[in-house]
């Protein structure tokens, strides 16, 4: 009917065009939508005040422009009731805004007791997330030159992220969820969310590419089979607190999938038994922001042909890049710095990588270095190529 039509039009105006212009799309979390609605309220509140003020200003500047020979009309330079009103009325409005903002904030900051807890560690310049079973996501995607981690999250589930930083300040921001929390070294900070996840007919919902069971790809990455053809929504994670050179590359992706898919996926992502495969995975999620595999220099040296090479250090002495030097460099990067990398940008990864993962990284470096002792090259492996699927026994 008429009222319905009118309501439709006004909702479209209020929640459609302007909301999409300001906030891209509705937030997939309930608390995020309250923030959106608060923001849109403030937007119209500001528009109303601004238009009122500017209209008066422009109208009076035109109406009372100086006409030579005409004096200003006498008018009072002070009016107590008016001045009291325009002080008290905005104050009351601000009280309302404060309380509504406070409630929305409390909802966003206090997580429900039954939330699933996951650990997040921010370090220069990557996000690292550990699932409740201690596993890490092996998936990556690309921003710029860097691989960034992809975190799978179950839909319609309360998830609390317990976060810390291993070096400087970072901030965990998921723009779509409207949540942000600084990550401070030596402290636990938390955020929580409950995302709706994929929906039929939602333009934000995408589908994973199909992977055929038994194919080469499925053998290599069995977790892809679980995701094959399944819908997901994707949300950026950005670091919002300036943290140095690659601050703008410190990102991650959250993919929300249905709870079943998440459960299957979590079961499938074990630690690969092949150390080279494990090392490659660690490289992509933690090291790729500063090191390349193609020989080009980035923040740090490329890993291509690095293992076994003799390097000159800043103090003039030389060192062979061997297991011991790599282990030391991962835990105490500032101790022996190779010439021309004096800035020493690398952060210590003590506590961020397990002994297995360090072994994996070393194995991976060997596999892509022509200087590595021939006997240790995996059977059939050609040095400069990506690691092979044939797993040498490591038991």
């Amino acid at each position: 009917m008429h009222t319905g039509l009118f309501q439709n039009a006004s909702t479209t105006l209020a929640d459609g065009f302007w909301r999409d212009l300001w906030l891209r799309s509705p937030s997939p979390t309930e608390n995020g939508r309250e923030t959106d609605s608060m923001f849109m309220f403030l937007w119209w509140f500001c528009v109303a005040w601004f238009v009122l003020l500017m209209a008066l200003m422009v109208y009076w500047v035109i109406k009372y422009r100086r006409r030579p020979g005409t004096d200003a009309v006498q008018s009072p330079s002070h009016n107590t009731p008016l001045e009291v009103i325009w002080t008290v009325v905005p104050s009351l409005m601000l009280v309302y805004i404060f309380f509504r903002g406070f409630w929305g904030y409390i909802d966003k900051i206090v997580s429900p007791g039954d939330a699933v807890e996951m650990q997040v560690i921010g370090s220069k310049w990557s996000w690292d997330l550990r699932y409740p079973n201690g596993m890490q996501s092996p998936m990556t995607d690309k921003i710029g030159f860097n691989d960034i981690p992809v975190f799978y999250m179950p839909a319609k589930t309360n998830i609390r992220l317990k976060m810390q930083s291993s070096d400087v300040l970072h901030a965990f921001w998921v723009p779509d969820f409207r949540i942000k929390q600084d990550v401070v070294p030596n402290r636990y900070m938390t955020v929580w969310f409950n995302a709706e996840g994929p929906k039929d007919g939602d333009p934000g919902t995408k589908k994973h590419p199909s992977v055929v069971a038994g194919s080469e790809e499925a053998k290599k990455h069995p977790e892809l089979l679980v995701l094959s053809g399944k819908p997901y929504t994707q949300h950026y994670v950005f670091c919002a607190e300036y943290c140095g050179q690659q601050h703008s590359e410190m990102a991650a992706l959250i993919r929300v999938v249905s709870e079943d898919v998440y459960k299957d996926w979590l079961e499938k992502i074990g630690t690969p038994s092949d150390p080279i495969e494990l090392g490659k995975r660690v490289f992509k999620t933690k090291c790729a922001s500063c090191h390349t595999l193609d020989g080009s220099r980035s923040t740090g040296p490329s890993w291509l042909d690095m293992y076994g090479r003799t390097e000159t250090l800043t103090d003039g002495t030389t060192v062979v890049v061997d297991d011991a030097y790599i282990l030391e460099s991962i835990f105490e990067p500032a101790k022996k710095i190779v010439k021309t990398y004096e800035n020493g940008n690398m952060t210590s990864f003590r506590g961020l990588v397990s002994p297995d993962q360090v072994q994996g990284l070393i194995a991976f470096m060997k596999s892509i270095s022509q200087h590595a002792p021939k006997t240790e090259v995996p059977a059939g492996g050609t040095p400069a190529e990506a690691p092979k699927t044939e797993t040498p026994p490591t038991k």
Partner: protein, 589 residues
Amino acid sequence: MSAHTHATPHAHHGGSYLESKGSFWTNVIDWATTVDHKKIGVMYLFAILFMFFLGGVAALAVRLELLDPVRAVTDGAGKVMITGQLFGAADANSIASGNDTYNVLFTLHGAIMVFMVIVPSVPGSLGNFVLPLMLGAKDVAFPRVNLLSWYIYVVGSIFAVTSIILGGVDTGWTFYTPYSTTTALGEPKVVLMVLGAFILGFASILTGLNFIVTVHKLRAPGMGWFDMPLFVWGIYSSAIIQVLATPVIGITLLLLAFERFTRIGIFDPALGGDPVLFQHFFWFYSHPVVYVMILPGMAIISELIGVHSHKKIFGYRAVAFASLGIAGVSFIVWGHHMFTSMSEVASTIFSGLTFLVAIPTAVKVFNWIGTLYKGSISLNTPMLYALIFLFTFSIGGLTGLPLGTLSTDLHLHDTYFVVAHFHYVMMGGTIMAMIGGIHHWWPKMFGKMYNERWGMIGAIVVFIGFNVTFFTQFFMGTRGMPRRYASYVQEFQIWHQVSTIGSLILLVGFLIHLFVLVQSLLAGRKAPKNPWGGLTLEWLADSPPEEHNFAHEPIVQCGPYDYDTHVPHHWDPKDYQIPEENLRTTAAH
């Protein structure tokens, strides 16, 4: 004083303060050793304009980089391409060094614009020049301290510029720990920049102290506190903050330098320190200093709107008390910069307190617009800038609301929304007011009129450029673009491109103003004493004023905006001679 009974204000003409003292070097030495507040004001003005140029170049470099940074784009077929090779071929190494350059440039822009431009801008230049004149004084209370503050400003700026020459600092102007205490250790540049800011603090304290004493002790006979022009109220309020807050940043920056040298933990958690402590210290100064920056801008606007509307400011006392109120509240809201790093209780308290600042600020805007009502408004470059200020500053103030509101700030903190907000306040507020003020007092400072038509054209171009540059950034922020990013995901490129185009328009606007002012100095028409019809005391002095400002100490018998009672019918504000019965000299007593 000699016992003339009816000496006119211009009975004994000294030479203009700009008059040449002889050979070139005599003049150089005269200016370098001057204690004349007018010359110091002019020297501040040129020093600040030079730093504004440096900071502006850094800003343009930042905007040009963001036009097309190196980033990955996924095309329709799902293929990832690397794009953004405007400034040379892209590889991983060029990303690393490109990011470094970008980080240095935005730090440079922020540090220069805050510490070397906006904080000293209005007090150092216009404040020094105009405030003693407005009070009917010969000079500030401590003229030699005033000169000292200028030299300290120059030395502090040299420290900062040296750190640029050594490769620049990449900490951001906020120097957040532990990044700032661990980056480029073993190199002196961070410490140089920090010491530069530390030294600049003393210039700020000395100027503030000087103004406070001047306002208390050197007002002309007959000028009570509520007979002072509102410009004086604004500068006085900001001087109080300068004196009280600046020592805190001094101590904080020294602690930071100390930690870098000794590796004793104060802020770095790896050494046992607390990084959030630094944020509290830093914002305990840097929030009040936001009002050191904006109050003088508001002070100028009160003056411009009153004088060019030729009408008594609406609610004079409310505006004066709002200045003091803002100065007071500014000390208890620092925590609103830290909603994402503090406890929930502290955040809540600071959010509530933050809304308090909105009230006096809103009252001021209402009063300014109320002044227009039934005025007699001359629309010229200074007045146009006052209107631009009302437009941009209102946006700046209103967009503070979603940032002070807790739930929305969790989304907007550290995004381009914040960048846009503070540019609307700092640039749309203080800088717009300052350009307006420069045009307003230009005839008084240099004795030359400027080209009004081109001044207005410049103002309009600046207005358009400013809004195109910064309004886009509000949308970027709410849509998910973090600040201080050397690169971005593809969907933000169109917004960045519009913003960069805006910054180029802004550049054109500033160049127009530069040409207008240079043309005025070289070939401007001689300025009358009182080109706008102002009733405050500086318009009683010659243009440019003689060395000791007034031939005789003026006595005040008319309020600063008493247009309703003290100007004749059918008067012409252009070149209006303030009648003697309004402003008599001591000789008349």
